[in-house]
Amino acid sequence: MSIITVNNLTKVFTTVEKQPGFRGSLRSLFKPQHSQVEAVKGITFSIADGERLAFIGPNGAGKSTTIKMLVGILYPSQGQAQVLGKTPWQERQALSYQIGSVFGQKSQLWYHLPPADSFDLLAHIYELEPFAYRERLAELVEIFEVEPYLNTPVRKLSLGQRMRCEIAASLLHRPRILFLDEPTIGLDVVVKQRIRDLILHLNQEEGVTIFLTSHDAGDVEVLCHRAMVINYGAVIYDGGVNDLKHTYLRTKTISLKLGTPWRGFEFAGVSLLKQKGYGVKLEVDTDVASIESVMAQLLSQYTIVDINIDNPPMESIIAQIYERTPESRSPAVSASSLAVE
């Protein structure tokens, strides 16, 4: 069952362009030059209940704009969206009881007060029954292990401690969908892992649908089973996280331990990455050469003691997607200037 359906969702921002200098200021006052930026261009997708979706793309790709339309903050220029059967920008308040959001770079906790106070306030805002609230709070405090700093002013918490409180705060009202915008930004490796475990736990134990944006390849790989890649306002990939590798991966690395000394290897599409003694690392461009043919050739030339074939890390796959030149697609920033009389 689809919990989110998006159809041809489009957002065009109109901005006033200002020429530099005082003359430019005057000109923009009397004869403003408007330019239109298509931040999201007619995207269509649907998400099933209980999915864990990673929404990835470089800065300015349209990720946040999409999230903000789905939670009802922004009105789209065109297109439809249904979140839990509601049109977000028309039924924002009713929807807000059923969705939660975590914005990694912002805070919803009161800075000078302990998290417990912010939790109490949220319980009031979401009209939770006192008993149900206490029960839910106890549950979240246990899962997120925030007991020790429940009564410490937020300003004194570390980023990792605060982030756990932020996520717990977003879950008090038992949302069915959790939107996470860069939840692990700025956290160290151990804390990142802890946050990922918690999000995974929520999805598995409570069936919360996870909609995550991240720049962290680890978040995508560990947390999500489905990935959607957005760039220049359009969805350029939608499928399994594992398939993402196959789609974008055009190289594999072969690590060998040889039984005989290295004498070089000539093969179209294969390049030497590293060689030290009997250890060799090769990169294969799978568009040019198949792994099978490379292996066959290697086995005919060398005695091989040990072999490993690896995919490059998620990190480089994402980097590869971002680096893809938009030549084949029309750029999103089509600054068609419209002089307004």
Partner: protein
Amino acid sequence: MSLLSRYWFVSRISARQQWAYRSEVLVRSVSTVLFMGIFVALWRTAFSVSQSTELSGYSLVDMLWYLAMTETVALSSSRAFQEISDAVKAGDLAYTLTRPMAYPFLQVANSLGSSAPRFLINLVTASAVVAVGVGLGAGSLGGALAFLVMAWLALLLDALIAVLIGMLAFWLEEVLPIYWIYQKLLFTVGGLFLPLEFFPGWLQRLSQWLPFRFITNAPARAFVAFSFAEVLPMVAGQLVYIGVLLAVVSLVWKIARRRLVLHGG
């Protein structure tokens, strides 16, 4: 009822957050002491030069207590305009907008809460300076009670205006100049520095009908010259303006939401 209790809770938590800045507010109250000290010296001189015991119906003691009360309200006034325009500029509305509450009224509740601790500190400081300068001798129990009620209504009215100014940030790049205009109107036709009775007849009549006097003049006037005949119409005026602004704020918010452009991705 539960709807109002949410706003009440927002006010409470906001007051507690503001309380964390109490030492900062205390330091700022040095300027209150300075202001009130200057007023004491100024009006002493004015009264002695004019050689009369009353000016436009105010004795020296009345005058200074009047000023202590207008200053108390003005110094505790809302900064919601700043908060809203900062949030609009920085794109920080993401969290507050996803709550099941109307954003502008959340800001009003927020503003009232953060005004409360400042109001208490300003009231104590300004009263102390005037009491030391010219003694007690003004006001009454009825006047004090009327002041407390009317000051609260005044701060609510002020918060609504501040939120309205803040929402202009959806159209304007900078709302501070608009706030300055509002502030100067409080100084003058709001009767902050001079009771309305000192104005020429036409200006007095005009000021009486403008919203600004209901913020600064009305509560202070109720304190120094309490009578039901005078206080009730002023409270009614406050309530009418609060009602009008509630409607205007809701309407402007409806329009603003549609043109909301969140900065920062």
